[in-house]
């Protein structure tokens, strides 16, 4: 009996698929359109124009405020759900900074928490269908990475003076190898912000683009759209994971760089 219903339903789906299939089912997929920066009002973009970037960054601020300020507003000894998530986020990043960057890295905790909360909220907000993902843009992640890079470099020189250059001079290696290693270390140091920023934007952008491509398939395949829809479900789950993990990776790398600045000796 169930089998008959199943096949009937399948036949119905196929027929309706043929009946209502898009007329030009040619692949009209624009996976990158979701990344367009567009002004909220008018059609000219100047540096101060409120755009969808403004909107979604604003929503990220609202989300951070809602979680960390409204969530903890009752200051309960026995926390509510929102408060325990806020405390969890606090403890997570605090412990990360303390463990990775050391005790003297703790005074950078608010900055690192700012980075983490912004990235994680932007990533999760970007997973809302139809939203705009600010962290998918190189311009955004490059600024974040550059902030970390310059902060770390300045802190390194202020804290250690010329001794910060010891970071590049691998004293445990044989003397003959040291200059070569120094060049490699120097290059890797300057490549850091590049990988730091592209890793985040690349992961987020790729995942969202893949979702859009599958969505395009779903629109084009008519009756068989359930296949890409399954795929979208799976990729979406993966993206939820990536949204958190990339924020985590960005933050922990920041802590690692900070540790290098505070304790440059190998």
């Amino acid at each position: 009996m169930g089998k008959i219903f199943f096949f009937a339903a399948l036949a119905l789906v196929v027929v309706s698929g043929f009946l209502f299939a898009p007329e030009h089912a040619a692949l009209a997929i624009h996976p990158m359109d979701q990344f367009n920066v567009s002004p909220l009002f008018g059609d000219h973009i100047a540096w101060y124009t409120p755009t969808n970037v403004t909107l979604w960054m604003g929503l990220a601020i609202v989300a951070v405020f809602a979680l960390l300020v409204l969530g903890s507003s009752r200051r309960a000894i026995v926390p509510s759900r929102a408060q325990s998530v806020a405390e969890l986020a606090y403890g997570f990043i605090y412990k990360m900074v303390e463990d990775v960057a050391g005790k003297d890295g703790v005074k950078f905790f608010p900055y690192i928490m700012t980075l983490f909360m912004f990235i994680v909220m932007a990533n999760f907000l970007g997973l809302i269908p139809g939203s705009f993902t600010t962290t998918s843009h190189i311009a955004v992640t490059a600024v974040l990475a550059a902030l970390v890079f310059f902060t770390v470099t300045i802190v390194g020189f202020v804290k250690n003076g010329v001794g910060f250059l010891g970071l590049f001079w691998v004293s445990s290696a044989p003397l003959a190898l040291r200059p070569i290693l120094a060049i490699i270390e120097l290059i890797s140091y300057f490549v850091r912000p590049v990988s730091h920023s592209i890793r985040l934007a690349g992961n987020v952008m790729a995942g969202h683009a893949v979702l859009k491509v599958f969505a395009g398939f779903a629109a084009a395949l008519g009756a068989f759209s359930f296949l890409p829809i399954f795929a979208i479900t799976a990729v979406y789950a993966l993206e939820v994971l990536v949204a958190f993990i990339q924020a985590y990776v960005f933050t922990i790398l920041t802590c690692v760089y900070l540790k290098d600045a505070l304790h440059p000796s190998h």
Binding site: Y48, V69, A86, A139
Partner: protein, 182 residues
């Protein structure tokens, strides 16, 4: 359908704008805008965190830690008190048990003494009564012997009289005495 035409129009608009055809990420004309708003967002989040959220959460966590420490100390205290109370209870129990045993032993000794007294008294009474009885029995026995002699004398006198003899009381008594010795 509608969305398709919209997208087509959108694409045309894009082309008209002359923006990057592939990746909006590489459209440098929007960089200034993004960087400006990013800076604003970061500053706002930083202010929210450093002014309100982080101190508050830190205070809550510290307060909770304090509460937990206090509660643990209080629990430790109460536990010590409980142990103390248990010891006191055990001691009281042991004392009471010893006291009870002492009282029981005392009572037992008293009863034993009473019992011994009573037994001794009873023994004495029994002995007395026994002696009395013996005396009575001896008296009775003596009385019986006398009676037997009298009865024997009387019977002998009667027999002699019946046989036609003349009874001589003296001779008969002597004869009865003789027989009774034998």
């Amino acid at each position: 359908m509608a969305s398709n035409t919209q997208e087509a129009a959108h694409g045309a608009a894009d082309a008209a704008h002359g923006s990057a055809p592939g990746m909006p990420q590489l459209d440098f004309s929007t960089f200034g805008n993004q960087i400006f708003w990013l800076a604003v967002a970061l500053v706002v989040i930083y202010l929210i965190l450093s002014r309100v959220a982080l101190p508050r959460i830190a205070a809550v966590l510290a307060e909770r830690q304090g509460t937990i420490t206090n509660d643990l100390a209080a629990a430790e205290d109460l536990k010590a008190k409980a142990v103390e109370a248990e010891n006191a209870y055990n001691k009281a129990l042991a004392d009471a048990r010893a006291e009870a045993q002492r009282i029981a032993a005392e009572a037992r000794a008293e009863i034993q003494a009473d019992l011994n007294d009573a037994i001794a008294k009873a023994d004495a009474q029994i002995t007395e009564k026994a002696a009395e009885s013996e005396k009575a029995i001896a008296e009775i026995k003596a009385g019986a012997l006398d009676s037997v002699k009298t009865v024997a004398n009387d019977t002998a006198e009667a027999l002699v009289a019946a046989l036609g003899g003349k009874s001589d009381a003296k001779a008969i008594a002597a004869a009865v005495d003789e027989r009774m010795k034998g």
